[in-house]
Symmetry: C2
Subunit: 569 residues, 2 copies
């Protein structure tokens, strides 16, 4: 066997040259933790800040023990502790879609718990917590997963722990493994779940009457879990947007090389447009749609299309028959008239089931339903491409609702723009490709920002456990000034929202704010970007060399940072 | 204005932090050129190797001056020259699809031509050569474009220079700008075009009876321009495959994190499967289809689908309801029965135009055409999903041919696999996402391999011009042992192929060879990769740090290298 073949065999199973090298990268820690390789837990004290929402009274009713214990006060590091707790048994699980840096949360937890405590991994997310599929995490595990992407060390799923039976199963798992604490790594829903679990497990779980602590860690590539300067960003957002930004930057270079294509790129990110805004700030494309702005301005689909087509025509008149458009995943749901039309359509379909089913031809179906809609909605339906109409008439989820996320927004925008461009100036050529950037951004190796941030989140979560806290979300504040371990009382974040016909406690999703510095900066530049090629290619994220220590641009702007450089430690 | 906003404004127009940093990276040069920053041109001498094809006699007839001058002998560096030519006026153009590193070819050319000669850029490819849209390239241009991706400094297009009128236009441009040489940066077709131009411009272009030299530079992300150890790989292949490999590696991590999806990924690369093979070697997915193998084994579509479905079922039985499949862009054309069916379908459609047009319903159309086909072909047509049948019946290019490349292979494979999995084991879940990775890989910043390789190709091309050569393709051999500037006589590569009903001279596309070390290594590992998760994530390409100097794995294997490390200089 050649020596090259031997080398190649050694790269299998997560051991590419890159993965092997990136495991050796040192990670900075907040000064409070001491050294990176031998970090010490910190104790916590109340900070000045007490959290609350419009529903705080109702929350206090529902979460009496959590609120009584925390007073909804934010906690901040009170320095390293010497007399740390020993013998704690802690389980960690990933919940929901993966995000880069999850592995480093586990690494931070393991390192700060040290040899005096035991860390268990829960397999395959909340489902694994119900089933009790736990295993002990070793130091060797940590050395292998550190700085690698994905959630594959544990796996994940989207089970919500809601029913009494499920709560009983969690208790059983806690008792079976004699757990003292659970760390839930997840997004807004998972952290709401963590709040509920914390209250449910507050006392009386184990034979001696003691409870099980629950700590959340803020994860989501969507960036919609933000709490002012207490939580500038969830982890995974930076890595995902940097991956998408490289791809969009590459495509932008392609447009001005090939000189003949538009590329319409839909970006993952659920409802909020944080991802689209960040990628726009990184790459400076001709057009970037922000759902929240469309909703605020109550823009119609026709006006959005017209706006895009005007840019296409104007660029063409300047000799540029190319460009890039970014669209957020949740766009359609933010167009008020689309929502109104879909609602009336759902009603009409529900009221005319038999008549509708009797029709076999798609055109006849569309005409029939159109006749049952108000004039505005019928006109809007008629303006859509036939494959969208077919989807609107056909696909319903198990609750009878349209799955808006299945609509190929990027193709819809291309087809309608093509039509509008032809109306505006038939001589303007418009050839477009569509893209959806999503899954490729969730599990890449974490940027140095996400890698360092998550390692410190893990250290913070572990410290909270050793300090006896429950019902908090770990956070690290001051990301441009060394970093401070802090904790946010989960109950202090809860609002009541009407979902599926009943009131639920939820952590409000953070949407893009029109008056935020990041949005304002985008608005100040976008007209220039539309008419001139001023794009940039941010390139692949680097782990060595001069460009490693960057914050997301939107986070830097919104937090009033003086530069893009993050400083931890 | 905040200082951060000022910093952000400075990143517009190709000045991201990454682009600014990567411009400063030093590039190694072959020892023959002396120093990187002040490289000296080399002279050339005949090497031992003389090239020829089955059609060499016919080529000699058609290319008498080129063949007489070169004797079809390969040239190799004869060391640096002191008395280099001065006052030469050289034009460089990009032809065809963009590939990473094109800018560095221009940089190498400019640096080796030095201040004693003039380098012009041709705007927008061969079309610009016809129109004479040239501009002088400055040292400042070179400092700005070095190590950046894309062809956007010049632009490109796909015009083929074939007609007498076009040749006359090229002569006019040469005379108008008093050119001494043209450098064509392109793929197999563009280099064939360069051979034809070289012969056409050999003598008698300018008033003194002299000709214009033509030199080709081997570019294509497809990797199908390879000539044994004379040309291990075209430039752009490494960058494109590294970008695709990162995305596929990220998706692989996502599969074992989310635990519920298959991802079917189609990869750009035209007919040949070099890209798919390289990405498979980098990432080790469950399935990678190689078109050339399917053609060699005369596999049917049904047998390919069965093979995929067997892997899906087997993995599911081991608890893995996920995986990644790679498919080359050209797959469909390599399935013999698909080709035969499409040919008979084209005939049948052409013979029954009126009857076919009279039918309005798609099902009726399919049934009618099915009845005109042989039993085998009718059965194959009937086995395809309806949207593919509709495409086969509807879409024809201007020559009446089906545009096979428009077929969404990745979706076809998903739908047919789903069906087959259900037959094999109805309990196996199969949820799949499709991807097409293409445009995002052509214009990224070149890997250090592509950056160094293209800079040295530019130095070689410039040296050939100063040494008075014409009708050669620049190459750099010995990529793991310092690198040697060489030149391949283009006429020595030409074959006669029947295209569009007439004989044409062409450079044969290099396909994946079943007995190549890269293919053999893949074959030796793929069954293990199918049933176990042994994937690797090669990560984003790095420009600083320990993992920068990698060769493509397939190139390293096929050239018998001892490691993945390239060594230039």
């Amino acid at each position: 066997m050649s020596s090259l073949v031997e080398q190649l065999l050694q790269t299998e199973a997560h051991k590419s040259l890159f993965e092997s090298a990136v495991r050796q990268l040192p990670l900075p820690v907040c000064a409070a933790f001491g050294s990176s390789t031998n970090p010490q837990p910190v104790r916590f004290k109340s900070a000045d800040s007490v959290l609350g929402t419009k529903d705080s009274d109702a929350v206090r009713q529902q979460f009496p023990q959590s609120v009584a214990a925390s007073g909804n006060a934010v906690l901040t590091s009170a320095g390293a502790t010497i007399n740390q707790a020993q013998g704690k048994r802690v389980a960690v699980l990933f919940s929901g879609g993966p995000a880069a840096g999850g592995h480093n949360v586990v690494c931070g937890l393991k390192r700060v718990l040290g040899s005096g405590n035991t860390l268990f991994g829960v397999k395959a997310g909340p489902k694994g917590l119900l089933k009790g599929t736990l295993f002990e995490i070793t130091d060797a595990n940590v050395d292998f997963i550190i700085n690698t992407g994905g959630f594959d060390f544990l796996g994940s799923d989207r089970t919500k722990i809601k029913s009494d039976e499920q709560f009983a199963q969690v208790r059983e798992t806690c008792i079976k493994h004699n757990l003292d604490a659970i760390v839930v790594v997840g997004g807004d829903d998972s952290n709401t779940n963590a709040a509920v679990l914390a209250e449910s497990l507050f006392t009386g779980v184990k034979a001696d009457g003691s409870g099980v602590q629950v700590i959340g860690v803020p994860k989501t590539i969507d960036g919609d879990l933000q709490i002012g300067n207490l939580l500038s960003i969830s982890f995974g957002f930076d890595t995902a947007t940097r991956i998408y930004s490289e791809m969009v930057g590459n495509i932008l270079q392609d447009t001005s090389s090939s000189l003949k294509y538009w590329h319409f790129v839909k970006l993952m990110g659920r409802s909020a447009s944080h991802v689209a805004l960040e990628v726009a700030l990184q790459t400076k494309p001709a057009v970037a749609l922000i759902s929240e702005e469309i909703a605020t301005k109550k823009q119609s689909l026709a006006s959005i299309i017209d706006q895009i087509a005007q840019v296409v025509v104007e660029r063409s008149h300047k000799g540029m028959n190319y460009g890039v458009l970014l669209a957020p995943e949740g766009l359609i749901e933010f167009i008020p008239e689309m929502n109104a039309m879909i609602a009336e359509l759902n009603d009409a379909l529900a009221h005319h089931v038999a008549e509708f089913a009797a029709l076999t031809d798609n055109e006849a179906k569309a005409a029939f339903i159109g006749s049952k809609l108000s004039a505005n909605n019928a006109a809007l339906l008629a303006s859509l491409p036939h494959y969208i109409v077919n989807m609107l008439l056909a696909e319903r989820d198990s609750h009878g609702n349209l799955q808006v996320s299945l609509i190929p927004t990027e193709q819809l925008l291309i087809d309608m723009t093509k039509q509008r461009v032809k109306e505006l100036d038939p001589k303007v050529p418009f050839a477009a490709h569509s893209h959806f950037l999503g899954y490729e951004g969730r599990c890449g190796a974490p940027t140095l920002f996400d890698a360092a941030y998550t390692y410190n989140l893990g250290l913070t979560a572990g410290s909270l456990i050793l300090d006896g806290r429950t019902g908090y979300m770990a956070t690290v504040t001051g990301l441009t000034s060394g970093g401070t371990p802090q904790a946010i009382p989960l109950a202090g974040l809860l609002n009541i929202e009407r979902r599926h016909g009943k009131d639920e406690f939820v952590i409000e999703k953070a949407l893009v704010k029109m008056d935020s510095p990041a949005m304002q900066y985008f608005v100040s530049r976008r007209e220039t970007w539309a008419t001139d090629d001023l794009f940039a290619s941010p390139g692949p994220r680097q782990f060595w060399g001069p460009t490693t220590h960057q914050l997301p641009i939107s986070v830097a702007l919104n937090s009033g940072a003086a530069s893009l450089m993050f400083v931890i430690g």
